[in-house]
């Protein structure tokens, strides 16, 4: 077998945690995908040399960092990696420009133009004089990515760069990530637990679960595959329905085996039996039946249970089939949700996705 451009091989056995991974790839942009606790961040710490793993073999984009046979274990500062940790860890005692300058010694040796290019690609020229606490969440994340790029790295490691942002902010930062991916010829390793992000960013996806590789391959082959299906709930797809597609009045609709009927977007038309996934946060609840509304699916449902988890309420409904909705505690209180009460569950056709 010829050598892959990138390879991560390591094994950690601890009472509380185990990781057993051997993956190799040639693609430039790889996504590591899986639920929290799957070992994604530990994988990054091994690649960075922060987590001691005696048997680790790490090569990214043709550069070998760890090779137990050769007795090679490069210290973190000599790996020339651009790392964007999960929370924007901008240095709070420095302003934006000083944060960018942090990797200047390395950049001077490797790529003196890196700083200017990072500022340009992430459009942070107007933020340079700001202090870190004057930045919005999206700006801070852009600066964190620029700081990693400004050090002239040989590869970029992004750890859930959008996870700390709310949905509208994600949509604003994502185009910058796409620019980084497309305009810079840099190997990228990208961690996410969001299947949409994985599909959009990755050329290859590695699915991690419980410290092991559950699947590897092109995003469209791996995401929504049977290997990933058991992870659906952990990935935020609380509702999975099995059934078939029928065509009524020209538009496709899905009928689950238990009889739940859902109007599908035209893109999900199919002849075969299908699995349909729906995130709990994409279900809207209303106390009264809504009038004219764009959402295609309004399901009269009975509340079975309400579970308060960290300020969010997971409402289990009987809508002909079990359906889970996630609402804020304030919304649950306003609607006086309680077992036995009747609500209308509203589901946009566009929120439905096909699994498996």
């Amino acid at each position: 077998m010829s050598e892959r451009a990138s390879r991560i091989h390591c094994r950690i056995d601890r009472p509380d945690f185990s990781l057993d991974i051997d993956i190799g790839w040639d693609e430039r942009v790889a996504v590591v995908f899986g639920p929290s606790g799957a070992g994604k961040s530990t994988l990054f710490e091994i690649v960075l040399g922060l987590e001691r793993c005696a048997n680790a073999h790490v090569r990214i984009g043709g550069a070998t960092f760890d090779d137990p046979d050769a007795g090679l274990h490069l210290p973190t500062e000599h790996r020339d990696l651009g790392w964007v940790p999960q929370f924007p860890t901008l240095f709070p005692h420095l302003n934006v420009a000083e944060n960018l300058d942090f990797g200047r010694t390395r950049a001077a040796g490797r790529d003196p133009a890196a700083r200017g290019r990072a500022i340009e690609v992430l459009e942070i020229g107007g933020l340079l004089d700001r202090t870190v606490d004057q930045l919005s969440g999206g700006e801070a994340q852009r600066v964190a990515i620029a700081r990693a790029l400004a050090s002239g790295p040989r590869a970029l490691l992004l750890d859930e760069p959008l996870a700390a942002l709310d949905l509208p902010l994600r949509a604003r930062v994502l185009p910058y990530l796409m620019r980084v991916r497309d305009q810079l010829d840099l190997p990228i390793l990208y961690i996410t637990h969001d299947p949409d992000e994985a599909q959009l960013i990755g050329e290859i996806v590695v699915v991690l679960d419980g410290g092991r590789v559950a699947a590897t391959g092109a995003p469209r082959d791996v995401l929504w595959s049977r290997a990933v299906l058991p992870l659906s709930e952990a990935l935020g797809i609380e509702n999975v329905f099995e059934g078939g597609v029928r065509r009524e009045h020209g538009s496709p609709s899905f009928v689950s085996n238990a009889g739940l009927r859902l109007v599908l977007p035209a893109s999900l038309d199919s002849d075969a039996s299908v699995r349909i996934g729906l995130r709990a946060e994409d279900v809207v609840l209303a106390a009264d039946r809504p009038g004219k509304i764009s959402a295609r699916n309004v399901l009269e449902s009975r509340v079975v249970a309400c579970d308060d988890r960290d300020g969010d309420v997971y409402v289990t409904l009987d809508a002909g089939e079990k359906l889970v909705a996630k609402v804020t505690a304030a919304a649950a209180a306003q609607l006086a949700l309680a077992p036995g009460s009747t609500v209308y569950a509203i589901v946009k056709a566009q929120a439905l996705r096909r699994l498996g």
């Binding site: 922060l50 973190t76 500062e77 790996r79 651009g82 709070p92 005692h93 942090f102 990797g103 990693a148």
Partner: protein, 224 residues
């Protein structure tokens, strides 16, 4: 000489000098040890922590006696002092050493706590950007812990100003040479010079208040 205040400026200057030298001398070791205790996981860490704290809870007189033995002409380290030709006991330096030893636990504890509050992620990011452990410490960890370290320094400094028991034993109460404010108050009370003692008390109070105000100001200004 009852109520004679002419010695006051000299005593204040001497006290501040002893405190400053003591604090400066213990700063680097306390920062290093505090960082090791905050970040390191090693066998015997609890023992080291306990040993560091001991001078704080021992009777200062016991610390003073131990120093007297160690620094003395007949002690186990006498060969050092003799070869260097210096006599530390009952000198200004003995007062500074006593103050440093008694203040060291305070400063080390403050440093340990300050470093413990710095998220290790910052150091890891600095390392990932190409900085070695030392540079990452001086450009990230120490600036982020600055507040706690400065506060600890002021605490140790004020503790040094008030040091009595250890200093009295190892440095004596020699006017103009080792007589700090605390020692001066004691000797004046012994001599029945209540006005003089009161004046030194007032000076102590003013210095302590000023130091704490400076420290609180630092805390407030550098609060993120």
């Amino acid at each position: 000489m009852n109520g004679d205040l002419s010695a006051l400026p000299g005593i204040v200057a001497l006290t501040l000098g002893v405190g400053a030298v003591a604090t400066a001398a213990m700063l680097a070791p306390a920062v290093a040890l505090g960082f090791c205790l905050a970040r390191g996981e090693f066998r015997g860490k609890a023992l080291v922590q306990a040993l560091v704290a001991v001078p704080m809870v021992l009777p200062p007189v016991a610390v003073g006696f131990a120093l007297l033995v160690l620094l003395g002409r007949n002690g186990p380290l006498a060969f050092i002092w003799n070869s260097l030709g210096i006599d530390l006991v009952f000198s200004w330096w003995a007062a500074a050493i006593a103050a440093a030893v008694v203040g060291f636990p305070l400063l080390t504890r403050a440093c340990e706590q300050a470093f413990g509050e710095v998220d290790e992620r910052f150091e890891q990011v600095a390392r990932s950007l190409g900085l070695g452990p030392m540079r990452s410490f001086f450009s990230v960890t120490l600036p982020l812990a600055k507040r706690g370290v400065l506060y600890g320094s002021v605490l140790a400094f004020t503790r040094a100003l008030g040091e009595f028991g250890a200093t009295a034993l190892v440095a004596g109460i020699i006017p103009g040479r080792t007589e700090t404010l605390a020692l001066g108050i004691y000797s004046r009370v012994q001599l029945g010079d209540e006005r003089g003692a009161l004046a030194l008390c007032a000076a102590s109070f003013a210095i302590a208040l000023a130091a704490m105000l400076v420290a609180e100001g630092w805390l407030r200004r550098s609060r993120p």
